[in-house]
Symmetry: C2
Subunit: 334 residues, 2 copies
């Protein structure tokens, strides 16, 4: 491991002061072109790069952003982080990634460890509903995918209500009246909003909301499978299902398959969230698609804006629009 040279090494090598080297490295003026060149040359020759650690001690900023998210195997989160990292890097920031695995304890541990770890700002995809405003007083924070519940915290979320509304509306427009929903309550706000949007569509179209068609429970594939199974075994089963998350959608498909029902014929389906699965399954599945990448990108930009802006806007809430991707899993009735 060749050890990196320090600013002193460069200064000594040239018999000049460290101040000058510092000026050159920071691209400040007040330094002669000749000197500048000499410094730059030996810096390169000695393989000198300023230590960010030392810089951040004095400058009190690290060009480091921390991102907290539940996991990376959920494509949604991976996609958000990917866009976040890219947007951050473009603006000169690096991204520190921490996974909470859905545990609120881990989330709190993260917050603690980020106080000392000098990061400039925090991006959080909460796993638990209970994010106190402890966060707000700490460092600049932006919540992604779910709103934080402190006062004046920024967040960028997807329009879950409207997404669910679109899904139900689509089903209704295709002649369905017996429509069920499988949603997760564990997803707190987002899951809840999807149920509301769904019900709103039925209400507006004057369809009756049958309690036995509202299947709200866990968010795992297992839960979804059980839910779909129960729904299709009802005396009067629905003709269409809205599966309000990717795993639930996958599970519904599996249940339908196992029940020997033909997807898109015996029963129609709309999912929430696009995926390779929905895209390539046969029949391909109609879904509500959210701009997942945008969430990460906008999140990063909002955060950096807060860091650099002199009058940081606070309490900003961005809600991203969704769109319906119509494929082959919905049958036209009547």
């Amino acid at each position: 491991m060749k050890k990196t040279a320090t600013i002193k090494d460069v200064a000594k090598e040239l018999g000049i002061s460290v101040s000058t080297v510092s000026r050159v490295m920071n691209g400040l003026d007040r330094v002669s072109p000749a000197m500048r060149k000499k410094v730059l040359d030996t810096a390169r020759r000695l393989n000198y790069v300023p230590s960010l650690a030392a810089v951040s001690v004095v400058k009190k900023q690290t060009k480091l952003l921390a991102a907290l998210l539940p996991d990376l195997t959920t494509p949604l989160y991976a996609s958000i982080l990917e866009a976040f990292e890219e947007a951050a890097r473009i603006r000169g920031y690096h991204t520190l990634t921490v996974l909470s695995h859905g545990s609120h304890e881990e989330e709190m541990r993260f917050l603690d460890s980020m106080v000392g770890r000098s990061v400039d700002g925090l991006a959080i995809i909460p796993a638990s509903p209970a994010f106190s405003d402890y966060t707000a007083s700490l460092k600049p924070v932006v919540f992604i995918e779910r709103p934080g519940n402190g006062d004046g915290v920024d967040s960028v979320v997807v329009d879950n209500f409207r997404g669910a509304y679109l899904a139900a509306e689509h089903l209704i427009s295709r002649g369905h009246t017996k429509i069920a929903i499988i949603a997760s309550e564990r997803e707190f706000s987002s899951g809840h909003d999807r149920v509301l949007g769904f019900e709103q569509a039925l209400r507006i179209k004057n369809l009756r909301i049958r309690p036995q068609y509202i299947c709200v429970g866990g968010g795992t594939e297992k839960d979804g499978y059980a839910g779909a199974f129960r729904l299709m075994n009802l005396d009067d089963p629905p003709t269409a299902i809205f599966a309000a998350s990717e795993p639930l959608c996958r599970a519904a498909v599996a249940a339908i398959h196992d029940l020997k029902l033909r997807l898109g014929k015996d029963v129609s389906l709309v999912g929430f969230g696009d995926s390779d699965f929905a895209r390539t399954y046969s029949p391909a599945i109609t879904v509500v698609s959210r701009a997942t990448g945008d969430m990460g990108k906008i999140g990063a930009n909002m955060l950096i804006e807060k860091l650099t802006s002199l009058s940081p806007s606070v309490g900003q809430q961005v809600s991203l629009s969704v769109r319906l991707i119509i494929r082959e899993s919905v049958w036209t009735l009547g």
Copy 2:
């Protein structure tokens, strides 16, 4: 933003020296229990947490690991990073994530930016074959998923050769003799090894390797689709296909579907790399599964071992075993 207190604040508050505060915070002995308690209390009260930036200036270590990978939308990479982060965090390290998006320029830029950014070690999932030994002299490095090509660099990879061998062998054991492979050459070493393993199995079983069945090209879904399409339109098409990567497998399935062929009946298929898609498609797809999480975990542990060990072993090569998950996409011939 309440600004964090410094060690001086704590010392001043108690009218003691910073040395003592430092000792307490670092859990050193040589400090009276009474004093220890007093310091701890006021530290908490003042919301004091040692600045890691300052610490790393003097200690020359940051407890920060940098991970470079092509992207996160590839589930394999996301899975590796997830396991890496967790293993690292358990051992007290944080993970800095940087994405190369497959560009070697980005990879080099990463290396450069990591010199100044004080990170203790580097984990790299190379996107390009050309990783000079520039890396070796920089900081402790471990390569994941593909071997680095410097001398004495550590790496943890999957046994691609054996995986492909298993896939072909399985197909052969089910009576297939006309077996094709769709592989990517862009995946350099890993793709190459898979072709070799595949051919080796045929050779050992005394099957002829027909050049027109060896379909080596790009790694995208588009490439895979074209490949499968071509194969099945041959005068004498294969009865089985080994798709040597996840996207290629998805593409092959799509092509087979579009050709109105029945997967698992008209044509058999084995994929490389498990996925939700392979698991939930109908028929479910037989695949070679690699322990993706292990790669990240082992990678992190190897790296940390190098950092902490007094006599770091170098040039270590770990090759992870694979296994075949038999599902429904392979038909037993006559």
